[in-house]
Symmetry: none
Amino acid sequence: MADFNLMRRLAQPGESKIVLFVMDGMGGLPIEPGGPTELEAAHTPNLDRLAAEGCCGLSQPIAPGVSPGSGPAHLALFGYDPLVFDVGRGVLEALGVDFALQPDDLAARGNFCTVDGQGLITDRRAGRIPTEAGEHLTIKLQAGTSLEGYEIFVQPVKEYRYLFVLRGPGLSSALSETDPLVVGKRSLPVRPLDDSAEAAHSASLVNEWLRQAKELLAGGFPANSLNLRGFAKDPGFPLFPDVFKLRSAAIAVYPMYRGVAQLVGMDVLDAGATLDEEIVALSRHWADYDFFFVHFKYTDSRGEDGDFAAKVKEIEKVDKVMPRILDLNPDVLIVTGDHSTPALLKSHSWHPVPTLLWSPTAMPDLARTFGERACSTGSLGTFPAPDLLPLALGHAQRLARYGA
Amino acid sequence: MADFNLMRRLAQPGESKIVLFVMDGMGGLPIEPGGPTELEAAHTPNLDRLAAEGCCGLSQPIAPGVSPGSGPAHLALFGYDPLVFDVGRGVLEALGVDFALQPDDLAARGNFCTVDGQGLITDRRAGRIPTEAGEHLTIKLQAGTSLEGYEIFVQPVKEYRYLFVLRGPGLSSALSETDPLVVGKRSLPVRPLDDSAEAAHSASLVNEWLRQAKELLAGGFPANSLNLRGFAKDPGFPLFPDVFKLRSAAIAVYPMYRGVAQLVGMDVLDAGATLDEEIVALSRHWADYDFFFVHFKYTDSRGEDGDFAAKVKEIEKVDKVMPRILDLNPDVLIVTGDHSTPALLKSHSWHPVPTLLWSPTAMPDLARTFGERACSTGSLGTFPAPDLLPLALGHAQRLARYGA
């Protein structure tokens, strides 16, 4: 991983510009034996040229065999070892719905569920109620629950999932979860996980809220009860602009990615909802920042759909905007994914991710095109994703020499 | 890095011979897009044969993106993780001028500077005075300063740079620097950086020396004052011959490299100033040692000059002596650089360094020639430089089996 002490010691302010372009879930697999991957099948003359002129490799987001969530996968690309910098699920849920989490807020991921007459859980996901039904229930909970001296936020996420945030003094995230993880059992009460007064106090607050919430939901169906998991607070990570001495901006459409960038202290720029608008935002703010994280979501979405051909098309859309980025004269342009989402698997996977680093100071290697197999011949080898950012700083000539 | 406990446990004395041949700053870049690097452009039939018969890779001296100084880069080749075994700048400066540093000596790097009538620094490098002028001033300081009970050494380094060493009892290197690092400010007094009596005592000694030195320089121009940076003592590293069970010798012309070898306990052999004389020294001492570090400087020098063609010629000179080394029948011959110094960049760089390990027990890989791109196809991959020495011990069959 990036050695933050070393980076703090060596990183220098400067004029050079770095662009980290992330195609979410870009890595893939052949959809049929012997065939190309999504990236290999795509017609990508611009990315191929960048790969040929730059250096390439395969990036490993977390650890061998481990499929990453979006939060940890992006932290890795930002140089943070996701095994060290662990973000709680509650915080990730808050980031995912663009909730402006404050430093002392306690956040949790909630699930609506179905219970029987004895209070035993019969469906942990309440029959996967539609998102609109979930929204309706969160409005009811927001209006009908209160805890003296504390603010409560209940926000819909998707289907049976919601976000719960408690704001006020002396809150601890050292709390056990309520979901027994199997049907046929009762929701568990929240217990403090350490001996602090804060944990005991927080547990009693949350239990009281759960009591009120269950009362409000009772009688409804199928979502007639609820659980809370992954209690967490803002982890207070070292700030990206401080560690790497980069004035840093994020251009991303989806809340989760804006949120992770914000968590490490990047400015989140207003961009529209399209790739074109993202590139316009990049141009407009070019003079104001040294580092740009640009996020493109739809490669992952089409991979999750299992739609190989549609994912290929999304990659080709990205290829077409590369000349517009190059026209801005970046010193370093990285194109990679946060993880693989092969259409074959319809989900995030553990496969290392094709990565190219283009720069006038890059040593061109044997990778002549941008694809999984081409990148496996590249000089970067198969490398831990958090190594990428320091490498970019090197190519941007922003790191002082180590030792005389 | 080399696991020193593991090495101490497994390393065995033996009869086999290892040669580590270091072309300083060997790694390079194409001087024009699409062209070869210095090493690729050089006609190197002998190195190509060694690469084809041996195994190859790209070695990373410090960390991704980080350009190394010569001291740390050599420590890495000797198996010492340079991020763990940190040598202070004062010690590196002493090594660089062949000063025989004793264990309790306090060393610092000095810079002559220019101050105005109010004592504010107007030029931190005293107009980069010629080396002869710097020499003259160090003679003046050596003769004209004294501290009771202590020996003082003031030696020229280059231009405005000098070495300051204090010898005597109870010295600490926990001292702040005097250089404010910007012009328009006064030199800072030295402050102790911990609560020890030694640090307080050392600070007052150094401040008194600075007072005397400034008095001597006042009235001269442009070097009418001075600063001290990087106070350091011999770090007392584990000794290379003990850890790796190798009777070890260094053959190097330049003081810095002889110094680093000495710092880890190698014998430094008397060799002349030419590559031919270095190889003669290697032959003469062949029976006396198990491990030879042979250093060749001029690849780095020509890289720093930005002279691609001249660096190519230096590489070709090295190629020509390879048969003479092979005639000695080494069990392992490594050819690598301590870092890259691309003529394109005219400076040390962060690019990983082509490396070949030739041995009768090496598994020949896909690298058929010795060059950056050929080595990127090698079976060693892109690896941390400190891994090389244990690998050499393996091929020299000097490591016991781990476990039954």
